[in-house]
Amino acid sequence: MIFTTEAVLAYGYAAGLLVTAAGLDRMARHVGRRPERHRIRPDHDTRVCPAGRTPRPADREPHLARPSACVACPGGPGCARPGGGEIVRAPRPWPHSEAGRFHRGLALVLVVLAASLTLIEAVRRPAWPDLALAAAMLTAIAVMARWLVRRLRATPAGFPEPGGKATDRDRYASVRKSRP
């Protein structure tokens, strides 16, 4: 093999950290969602959609109502996706907003760690083909860090102050509705 085992392990682990960081970002997004478009009527075991109907959920996606139910609905274009009625829409208020921030913060920590590991390994074994790996890794880390920092910035804590409304919302938490 052209690379040393240690370099492959170190950079491989750093790459694993990046993947985990991306996973955390996904979790942050998940945290921010609110499957509340459809409300639950406690007396019957049914969901009520914004139009006041009770569509059955799609088989695969419990957050989506069956497409057939939404096609005929006057409110359909407003709340349905091609795959069916969108149950998830508004971002959740605090503490979900701040929980999202928490996840993105930790994701960023992992990226910093990946960078540290890469640099340490590059200094420890500054051999040529390995350094190419290190350079590739650092590029990936830089891209990822930029992306995550932007997302973190766009995820305010959103802690509600009385009187003032918690106006900030996590721009990356809301799931986009179907594009018309």
Partner: protein, 767 residues
């Protein structure tokens, strides 16, 4: 006067919840009873006498028992391990004995393939005679015993400290003989085949090719089954959540709006005010624990010197680790007890006379037990106490505290249960046994109850049985009853704040009881796959502990919604929500429950993984991420919740709470991902590729990439302590400085009314 039973409030949830929860718990403990029975009837025998082929007496069953006491008293279970259980710096002494004995035997037989086969057969043959109770060692085995007695004498009487042990740790030849007898017995059960089976008493653990130890068919089979069980379980759960999710979890409409009372308007009862001192103790113990963790870690990074100073003379590795583990339990438990004391009057509406005095008594008792047991352990490890001494020595890992202190701690928690009973008596009498006050009380009662079970593990009993009972405490506490009590307590906090309806909280608690108990009770057996238990422990343990992961996944999905809690109210309240950081710590609890307990726990849970992994770095990774991540963060959350009312609003250091939150979480994440996880993965690889003995050797641990990785955690640890623990200490100090606003007691009865934390405003229709 207690009202008659006829006036009890009705149960708020469907009786089916109660029946299902009872059924699951009864089933789990019924099976646990059977497994306890099997532990005693199908465990490995301790021979009355071990002789060589020529009839020469080698050691007796008494020597084995005494040797176990010597092993424990010297804190060796916090240094290395036996049968995979214990510390991770020293060797696993079972694997160590087995390797050395088999190598000696191989040499005695002249080496080569024939000799190999002969050694294998000699070690696997079970020459124990149950009628006479006599075990016969072959000549090679007997010679190895003699040689190893010499070896361990040299090892433990070493005047140097470069292994992390104190100098001249054990010098008494009799004790060395007994200790070697104990280790020899563990190695015997690890290699001799069970009567009628093709594998050893320990399901062929440890992997040792010289004696023909390799994973059994059961290990592979039950690994596969439990993996499938997990996938099916998660699938089923998500299906159920999708279908009925609206009924579960913490979602729920609120019909009222709430004004949170400013902490300045909350007048506290005497016992509530004493909790300020509890949390100061909690914070100081936390600080001590983290610093000792630093010392423990330093041994792994640089074994021979502590920045030029020979620390091992005073604080050898095993003592640092003993204290580190004990304190982790103490400060978390103290926080739980304090939170209980704070919450009980809120639930009851008032506090009975003299509850404050009892709280002081409890705190004093806790401090005495903590200090006394830590000192006793120090004396024992430094050799001042006779092994097995009632007052001074026990030292099973996690149940380190000597017996008398163990009894006192159980008694202290029982005193706390009495306090809960006093505070809640009238409420309990008025309420259905299926409602929140009873659940709170009963799950609280279970904490001393389960802890007391640990008293069944005595230093001189057969290791297999002591380990069985030990994990009732270690596992059932953290993976079942503490989770339940936590849910009940957190639910109650939010019911008190008015953001969750009691009915909604109840459903979540019942769901928790069912989900946690379904996997968590029998799942205890995932710790004793290889402790000498029969194979059903392994099978059931693997299957049910996989089920434990299911609620953890669920809770991460739901934990967020659990604080969603009338988020609307936060916006509409005219007063700010006072518990921003307590809630954020709860969010962290949910996160670490998922990552630390669920992911990192399952990573090492399959029998086939555990076979190579037990007692190595990935266990440390899981233990830190789950103990600190779940219970540590939770204790801090409880602390912040309570301290909020003990510190005047204008003095509340919101900034420090924030700094502490981020530092603790970043520090912990760094610790896991920079060091513990990669170290554990490398060590697991070494264990599979080179052998378990090799992976646990000091040479490997202090070898090249390891040392670097150990140092890499330093920034995270520094942040954890300086940015996380110290601010928490500061907040706790403020709590003691101010101690809240006292409420006036009724002069006639001595009863103090309890405060309300929020005011419900006019109902609004949100349907």
């Amino acid at each position: 006067m207690l009202p008659g039973a006829g006036t009890r409030r009705r149960v708020l949830v469907s009786r089916r919840w109660i029946q299902a929860a009872a059924l699951v718990a009864v089933f789990g403990f019924f099976v646990m009873g059977l497994l306890a029975f099997r532990t005693y009837t199908a465990g490995p025998p301790v021979p009355r006498l071990v002789v060589s082929e020529s009839g020469q007496e080698l050691f007796t069953g008494r020597d084995v028992a005494e040797g176990q006491k010597v092993f424990l008293a010297n804190g060796l279970m916090q240094y290395g391990s036996v049968l995979g259980h214990g510390g991770y710096l020293g060797p696993d002494f079972t694997a160590d004995y087995l390797r050395r004995a088999a190598t000696a035997a191989l040499r005695a037989h002249g080496g080569g393939d024939r000799a190999r086969e002969q050694v294998r057969q000699e070690f696997r043959a079970n020459r124990y005679d149950p009628r006479t109770g006599v075990l016969t060692y072959t000549r090679a085995q007997a010679d190895a015993f003699t040689a190893l007695t010499r070896h361990y004498r040299g090892y433990f009487a070493d005047p140097r400290t470069d292994k992390g042990l104190r100098p001249n740790a054990i010098t008494d030849p009799r004790q060395i003989h007994q200790l070697t007898a104990f280790l020899s017995w563990t190695a015997w059960i690890a290699s001799a085949e069970r009567p009628g089976a093709g594998y050893s008493y320990t399901n062929n653990w440890p992997a040792e090719p010289l004696v023909g130890n390799a994973p059994t068919a059961d290990i592979v089979l039950w690994s596969v089954v439990s993996l499938v069980a997990l996938l099916v379980g998660i699938g089923a759960l998500f299906g159920a959540v999708g279908r009925w999710g609206g009924h579960l979890g913490w979602r729920g409409r609120q019909a009222e709006t709430i004004d949170f009372r400013s902490p300045d308007r909350v007048a506290l009862t005497p016992a509530q005010r004493v909790t300020a001192y509890f949390f100061l103790v909690v914070a100081l113990l936390f600080l001590a624990q983290a610093l000792l963790g630093g010392a423990t870690e330093h041994y792994r990074a640089d074994l021979t010197s502590f920045f030029g100073f020979d620390l091992a003379e005073l604080l050898p590795f095993n003592l640092a680790r003993t204290w580190h583990l004990q304190l982790s339990l103490f400060w978390v438990v103290a926080a739980f007890l304090a939170a209980g004391i704070f919450l009980a009057p809120l639930m009851a509406g008032h506090e009975p006379r003299a509850q404050g005095t009892l709280a002081w008594t409890l705190l004093a008792a806790l401090v005495v037990v903590a200090a006394g047991s830590l000192i006793a352990e120090g004396l024992s490890i430094h050799g001042f106490v006779r092994p097995g001494n009632f007052w001074g020595s026990q030292q099973f890992e996690w149940l380190d505290l000597p017996r008398v202190w163990q009894i006192l701690l159980a008694a202290g928690m029982a005193l706390w249960a009495v306090m809960m009973w006093r505070a809640l008596r009238a409420t309990l009498a008025r309420d259905s046994r299926g409602n929140l006050p009873w659940l709170f009380f009963l799950s609280g009662l279970a904490i001393p109850g389960v802890y007391a079970v640990g008293l069944l593990a005595r230093p001189g009993d057969t290791f297999t049985t002591t380990d069985f009972w030990r994990f009732w405490v270690v596992h059932l506490w953290v993976e079942d009853f503490l989770e339940l009590f936590t849910t009940a307590m957190v639910a109650y906090m939010f019911v008190q704040l008015g953001v969750v309806r009691e009915r909604v909280a109840l459903v979540v608690i019942y769901l928790d009881v069912i989900l946690y108990s379904a996997g968590g009770v029998i799942g205890t057996m995932h710790h004793v796959y290889f402790s000498g238990e029969p194979v059903e422990h392994l099978a059931l343990g693997a299957f049910f502990s996989a089920m434990e992961v299911v609620p953890l996944t669920f809770l991460t999905v739901e934990a967020w919604s659990f604080v969603q809690l009338g988020a609307r109210q936060h916006m509409e309240s005219r007063t700010p929500f006072p518990h921003r950081w307590a809630v954020m710590f709860l969010v962290a609890v949910g996160f670490w429950n998922f990552l630390g307990a669920g992911v990192f726990g399952f990573l090492i849970n399959l029998p086939i993984v555990s076979y190579y992994e037990i007692g190595t770095g990935l266990t440390a990774n899981h233990a830190h991420a789950s103990m600190m991540g779940v219970y540590g963060m939770l204790a801090v959350a409880l602390g912040l919740f309570t301290l909020r009312y003990l510190i005047p609003a204008d003095r509340w250091p919101e900034r420090w709470a924030k700094v502490s939150f981020w530092s603790l979480n970043i520090g912990l994440a760094w610790m896991c991902f920079a060091t513990l996880l990669p170290l554990g993965l490398l060590q697991l690889h070494e264990s599979v590729a080179s052998g378990y003995f090799e992976a646990r050797s000091l040479g490997y641990l202090t070898g090249d990439p390891n040392t670097l990785l150990e140092w890499l955690r330093l920034p995270g640890d520094a942040l954890f302590i300086a940015g996380g623990v110290l601010p928490f200490c500061r907040i706790a100090w403020l709590g003691v400085r101010h101690r809240g606003r006292p409420a006036a007691a009724d002069p006639a009865t001595g009863v103090t009314p309890a405060p309300r934390l929020s005011d419900i405003r006019e109902p609004v229709d949100t349907a």
